[in-house]
């Protein structure tokens, strides 16, 4: 019967010895496995959404097809296929023998490893082993001769000159892994050959490789005795090596064989496209120590095979930034294996193991996870560590500024939200407001497309295309806020959540719409994948597919095919993260463009460098930017007319990069909507006239009537105004505006007579009418003169009693300062601006004062900071912010009649609080960013009778004796002086860097005490002035130079030459 002897010529003792070795090997294997499992159990719970069954099916499909390995490296893919399938066949073979010999036969006395089954088994195993050997040899060849940069562990991007010790170890284990496997394989064939040589079974042909080798041995004249000797010794070598290999699996590179099965099965449904939420009960944000990584993340570390595909794809690494996704994972693995999932005292994961700089280098483009054959989700881990960095306030000051701007104004440009749809004004038609009218599509515009001048052109082009296609769309106008996609990827999860909430709320409270469309892939991604976790949303579509549809259905007709050679850049958030590869290409084809693909296209698209919040972080000088790298790639195609984008951030980045990379003359960068506009000859269409004919006629008649009526009205009004002008002007007064008039305004100056002639009334239309102002709701100012002085006293705040002092107490005055946009209206009484036109945020100077207070308390090792604001409920936003930054308590004083109160009144309110609090030091900002009185602190010091100093740049204090402070004087000189405590100091900005309060900290600060005091007692005529009126000044505006940059430069150059003779 066809079979073979298992333990040829082995004594009983030898067999026992072999079993002892075998069981030991299995024990070592299991021990290693257990160590890993124990390590994973120390990790945090997994927070990513995982569908395990679907994951496992996908894993099996990926493993069997090897598609993740063959991609972008067919050689390695096929080599691995040989090794993998060879190994699996070998493993199955060994298992079958074990099954029969050790289980089925001893238990049931049945043998099945014989006959035809044995023959087929022999053949398959022979072929499998050949595949394995071929695979290993290919891999060895590749490592030895291909010199692939992705397999180089030298961290050149970090200036490393030689391999670090762990990297040397990696290189050794790579070779050890392949070599041991190869030796096992060769010894296996040797064993088969000598067996066949000696036994000469008639079915030897079923082991073709072994038989061939046996023939070679025979041909070389090998005697039976030699064969027997080899057979005996080689058996042991082969067996022990194979068992050692098994035992070692969990302990080195080979562990990927097991870990990969887990990591592939556990892939997130939408890695990076949908980031995990922060558990609410977490003490600190994100991942601060190794045990805060989930067991899934730890499994990811172990699954890494160092294949370097991510290293090669990463745009940060490619342009020399200190981030290689591969090295990040390997560093984390190295450290996790050292500490076995336990946090280590005195070692900071971020800083000691992973550099903050490395984490900030990431663009969240997803190129690494996309190409990772084993399902590692690097960007998610990076974002989780960034969450910790943001929590610690360790970030670029410009990034902090952008987050602050988003938090206070809802957009990263820090613009007043009323300006969000200002770009629509240049359109020849009105854009619907979804808050007033229903529409088929709600267009979520996004920050860049709304505020950036270059992108505004694209927004107008797309709006006009929609109009031309008679598509029904509307905007949220100022109801829209930053979508939060990049805020989330920066790691400011709290701010992200509040943005989602306000956008969802805005979209929920409007007229009906069927879908959301957007030109911004970043907004598209988060609304599509992440918003649904927070609340119901409508389906969302990127404008590339909207355009494809409009062209396809003929609602937009191409009248002028462009016949351009273009290349298309896939935006990461549209392509890789959401699979939107085809629609833009369809559009380009439809408008007659020939698409020349860049080598890195579709899922291998190369990020512009703006993602993950990097658009807010400046790139270091002298370093190639990812966008420049991409420009070189486009240039290498040769003869390209247009580099096409369909993402506002791409347009911004590539417009710059085209110039800085020296390809300015080769091609232009254009948005896809601009090309479509060209192809449908949008400029020839009169969009205003688009409504149906009947509507047009009524419109025309209405316009005519309106014109006639308006002319009549003008005449009537002009007559009335002439009569008014002769009457004495109630608001007129003698005035001097002694501003030296700008050079070219001599004529205007001549017209403006010197005092004491009446100043011409303000002709500005936004000023209130010259009629006497409405009755002042405030009582008259307290009368006084030199014989009846009325020293200002602290306000009585309803018997407020401060908590007992337990140590040092510093009081900081805080203002929720207003920011006025470009469009505003005055209140009915003409004394103030309507509150709806103002946006507020913590006053910059008070932020510096708070920082100074916190620095003092920290340096002195204890004490209390009490923040006091005089303002309406809304100003609690700023108080929460300072509480989040570290103030201990807050007090707010208010009465509605205190709106835009004068500094003396504010000082009285603060004095009322200070009298109760008896602080050891009072800090205020030098001035406020809105009214800039620069007086509140000084008045407060006088009311309280404190020593004081203003415009303070630095403070030194031991908490008891005199303070040594530095005053910033005009012209850059500083004066150092000392003064006794308690004192009041007005702090200047720019002398410290105020810390950042994350939204999470702000939410947590809600637990800190905030007392509200009634400020009614302040309405007693105690202020320093009464506002008569507020108005928009008429400004002598500069003569604006018109034309292109080139033409303006010419005019400026002429001016310079004329003036300076340069």
């Amino acid at each position: 019967m066809e079979t073979r002897v298992l333990f040829w010529s082995l004594s009983h003792d030898a067999i026992v010895a072999f079993y002892v070795i075998g069981f030991s090997a299995i024990a070592v294997f299991l021990w290693g496995l257990w160590r890993h499992i124990a390590k994973y159990r120390r990790g945090a719970a997994n927070v990513s959404a995982v569908d395990l069954w679907a994951g496992m099916r996908r894993m099996v499909a990926d493993v069997l097809s090897h598609r993740t390995l063959v991609r972008r490296d067919r050689y390695a893919g096929f080599a691995h296929m040989g090794i993998f399938f060879g190994f699996v066949i070998a493993a199955i073979g060994t298992s079958i023998i074990t099954l029969e010999y050790d289980i089925v036969y001893p238990l049931f006395g049945v043998r099945f490893w014989k006959g035809d089954f044995y023959l087929l088994f022999s053949l398959i195993l022979d072929l499998g082993h050949v595949a394995l050997i071929v695979g290993i040899l290919m891999m060895m060849w590749r490592r030895a001769y291909f010199r692939l940069p992705k397999l180089d562990y030298l961290r050149a991007y970090r200036g490393e000159g030689e391999l670090r010790e762990p990297a040397r170890k990696w290189r050794r284990e790579d070779w050890l892994f392949m070599s041991v496997l190869l030796v096992i394989e060769l010894s296996g064939f040797t064993q088969e050959a000598v067996r066949l040589l000696m036994d000469r079974p008639e079915w030897a042909i079923w082991s073709p490789v072994g038989l061939a080798l046996a023939k070679v041995f025979a041909g070389l004249g090998m005697s039976d005795a030699t064969a027997a000797a080899i057979r005996g010794a080689n058996w042991w070598m082969h067996g022990v090596l194979a068992l050692a290999f098994t035992a070692a699996i969990p302990w080195y590179k080979a562990k990927h064989m097991i870990a990969v099965l887990g990591s592939l099965s556990m892939r997130s449904e939408k890695p990076l496209a949908r980031l995990p939420r922060e558990p609410e009960d977490k003490a600190s944000a994100g991942v601060a120590c190794i045990s805060e990584f989930s067991w899934k993340d730890m499994l990811n570390f172990d699954a890494c095979t160092k294949c370097g595909r991510c290293h090669e794809a990463c745009p940060a690494r490619s342009t020399g930034y200190p981030l290689s996704p591969r090295d990040l994972i390997l560093d984390l693995r190295l450290y996790n294996d050292k500490v076995q999932g336990r946090p280590e005292e005195g070692v900071s994961l971020i800083g000691d193991v992973i550099d903050a700089e490395t984490l900030w280098s990431c663009r969240s483009c997803g190129a690494c996870q996309e190409i990772c054959p084993v399902g590692i989700e690097h960007p998610t881990m990076i974002v989780q560590m960034r969450r910790q960095l943001v929590d610690r306030g360790e970030m670029d000051p410009l990034l902090q500024g952008a987050l602050d701007a988003i938090s206070s104004t809802g957009n990263s440009f820090g613009e007043n939200s009323r300006k969000r749809s200002a770009w629509t004004r240049e359109l020849e038609f009105e854009v619907k407001d979804i808050r007033e009218e229903r529409a088929e599509s709600l267009w979520f515009v996004g920050d860049y497309a709304s505020f950036d001048p270059r992108n505004q052109k694209v927004s107008r082009a797309f709006a006009s295309l929609l109009k031309a296609a008679r598509a029904d769309f509307a905007l949220l106008h100022e109801g829209e806020r930053n979508s939060g996609n990049d805020v989330r990827r920066v790691g400011e999860e709290g701010l992200y959540e509040s943005l989602v909430e306000s956008n969802l709320e805005a979209m929920a409270g409007v007229k009906p719409f069927e879908r959301i469309i957007t030109t911004d892939p970043h907004s598209y991604n988060t609304i599509r994948n992440e918003y649904p976790e927070f609340g119901p949303t409508a389906p969302v579509e990127h404008y590339s597919s909207v355009l494809a549809d409009l062209l396809d259905t003929g609602r937009l007709k191409v009248t002028k095919p462009l016949n351009k050679r273009v290349t298309f850049h896939d935006p990461c958030h549209l392509g890789r993260l959401n699979g939107g590869y085809d629609a833009p290409r369809q559009v380009l084809e439809a408008i007659g463009c020939e698409i020349i693909e860049m080598p890195r296209n579709r899922d291998n698209s190369f990020c512009c460098g703006a993602g993950g919040g990097r658009i807010w972080i400046p790139d270091p000088p002298g370093q190639e930017k990812p966008s420049e790298n991409r420009m070189h790639e486009a240039s290498s195609l040769g003869g390209i007319d247009v580099f096409v984008t369909c993402c506002p951030k791409d347009l911004t980045m590539f417009e710059d990069a085209r110039k800085t990379s020296g390809h300015e003359k080769e091609f232009v960068v254009q948005d896809i909507a601009e090309l479509v506009a060209e192809a449908v000859e949008l400029e020839k269409l009169t969009l205003k006239d688009l409504p149906p004919l009947a509507e047009r006629l009524t419109d025309a008649i209405a316009t005519r009537i309106a014109e006639v009526v308006a002319t009549r009205l003008d005449e009537v009004l002009a007559g009335k105004m002439a009569a008014l002008a002769t009457a004495p002007e109630a608001g007129s007064f003698t005035a001097t505006r002694a501003v030296a008039p700008p050079a070219e305004a001599a004529e205007a100056a001549a017209e403006q007579p010197a005092a004491p002639v009446a100043r011409p009334p303000e002709p500005d239309i936004s000023a209130p009418p010259a009629a006497p102002p409405a009755a002042d709701p405030l009582p008259a100012l307290t009368p006084m003169d030199w014989d009846n002085l009325a020293p200002v006293t602290p306000a009585d705040l309803g018997g407020y009693v401060a908590p007992d002092k337990t140590g040092l107490r510093i009081m900081v005055a805080v203002k929720h300062a207003a920011k006025l946009g470009d469009e505003y209206e005055f209140t009915a009484d003409g004394r103030d601006i309507g509150g709806e036109f103002l946006e507020h945020d913590l006053n910059e100077w008070d932020d510096a004062a708070l920082e100074q207070a916190l620095l003092l308390i920290e340096a002195l090792g204890g004490g209390e900071v009490v923040a006091v604001a005089v303002g309406p409920e809304e100003s609690e936003k700023s108080l929460r912010k300072v509480l989040a930054k570290g103030a201990d308590r807050a007090i707010r004083v208010w009465d509605d009649r205190l709106a835009n109160a004068d500094p003396v009144t504010i000082a009285r309110a603060l004095a009322g609080v200070a009298r109760a609090e008896a602080p050891d030091l009072i800090l205020t900002g030098t001035q406020s960013s809105d009214q800039a009185h620069g007086s509140t602190g000084t008045a407060l010091a006088r009311i309280l009778g404190l020593a004081h100093a203003s415009v303070i740049a630095s403070v030194e204090w031991d908490g008891k004796g005199d303070l040594t402070v530095t005053r910033e004087l005009e012209g850059g000189t500083r004066q150092v002086l000392s003064l006794p405590a308690p004192a009041l100091l007005a702090i200047q900005t720019g002398t410290n860097t105020p810390r950042y309060a994350t939204m999470r900290m702000i939410k947590q600060a809600k637990k800190k005490p905030l007392e509200v005091l009634d400020g009614a007692a302040l309405i007693d005529g105690g202020g320093g002035y009464r506002v008569r009126r507020m108005y928009t000044p008429v400004q002598e505006k500069a003569k604006m130079l018109e034309g292109s940059a080139e033409e303006v430069a010419e005019q400026i150059a002429a001016l310079i030459r004329e003036r300076k003779g340069t």
Binding site: A949, L977, L979, Y1025, A1045, R1059
Partner: protein
């Protein structure tokens, strides 16, 4: 008896420009207010300074001798209150300067007088004083009245009111001020001059100044090179210095240097905070480049443009290469 009291300002024994500007402002309303115009000079040797404020229209100069010339807000406050108590002016004018900010409001709080700061238009209506200041980040103006207040203390914006021409014939009166209890509360330690530099904004005739609009520190060398090529001194706004991109001597503005001898000022990416305008708005020809057409810089500039700063810079580089 009504009248106006102007408080002169000095720095280490020399009179500052704001003193004459305050006198000019006082003169513009002197007739409407009525009464004499008095100037209060405070310092270690006030008589030396008195000559500088003996300008056209000044009726009396009051001098207060202090132990040193170092500014001390408590002493200034006491001197003004004492002088006021004697001559009972209805209007007290103080400069809205680093020093003025430190005692103007305290004088007002002590008296319970009318008070407004950073005033840049002065006038009267029906015999009552009207002062105008800016509000909401200088976008609007706010007109204030002080009805009922027999005394109004104002701090006036610098480099705004014109100094009067010609000398005056004021009488000189020394004033005794009781400084017990306030003298020595705070002690002057030293002055720290800004580190010396080869940049002198005050002397330059042509300044190329950059602001936040240059976006990035990396872009700075480019503008420095352009300034060099044009023969201009490189200036900047405060945020550039605060961010550490340029050293303090480059800063134009209130807390920097005033471009006193400048004839041509090229403002690139500067929005025009009051702080900055203070140091350059008087310049004869100002060319401003800013993408925001509403930027306040265009209110003082002679020529303006909203084209892209970098495209323009590139074109200029070509022009001057």
């Amino acid at each position: 008896m009504p009248g106006i009291l102007v408080v002169a300002e000095q720095m280490e024994g020399s009179l500052r420009d704001i003193s004459a500007e305050l006198i000019g402002a006082a003169l513009s309303i002197k007739d409407q207010i009525g009464g004499p115009l008095r100037v209060l000079v405070i310092g270690a040797t006030p008589d030396n300074l008195a000559r500088g404020v003996n300008l056209h229209g000044v009726d009396e100069i009051l001098t207060v001798t202090t132990p040193s010339d170092h500014f001390d807000p408590l002493i200034y406050e006491q001197a003004v209150v004492t002088a006021g108590g004697q001559c009972k002016p209805t209007v007290v004018l103080i400069g809205h300067t680093v020093s003025g900010m430190a005692y103007g409001a305290s004088v007002a709080a002590r008296l319970g007088s009318g008070f407004a700061s950073d005033v840049f238009i002065l006038g009267t209506a029906d015999g009552e004083l009207i002062a105008t200041r800016a509000a909401y980040g200088n976008k609007v103006e706010m007109e204030m009245g002080f009805s009922g207040k027999g005394v109004v203390v104002l701090t006036l914006r610098g480099a705004t009111f014109a100094a009067p021409d010609g000398g005056g014939s004021a009488t000189l009166t020394a004033l005794a001020v009781d400084m017990s209890g306030i003298e020595g509360v705070s002690t002057h330690v030293e002055y720290q001059e800004a580190p010396p530099s080869d940049v002198d904004i005050t002397k330059s005739g042509f300044i190329l100044s950059v602001g936040r609009g240059i976006q990035d520190k990396d872009n700075l060398p480019r503008f420095a090179a352009l300034a060099d090529k044009l023969g201009a001194t490189l200036g900047c706004s405060r945020p550039i210095v605060d961010s550490g991109w340029l050293a303090k001597p480059h800063q134009v503005g209130q807390s920097g240097k005033v471009a006193s001898n400048c004839e041509l000022y090229l403002a690139l990416g500067i929005s025009g905070a009051v702080q900055h305008l203070y140091g350059m708005k008087h310049v004869d020809t100002i060319i401003a480049v800013n993408t925001d057409p509403d930027a306040p810089i265009f209110n003082v500039a002679t020529y303006g443009t909203t084209v892209d700063l970098f495209e323009l810079t590139e074109a200029l580089e070509r022009h001057f290469n």
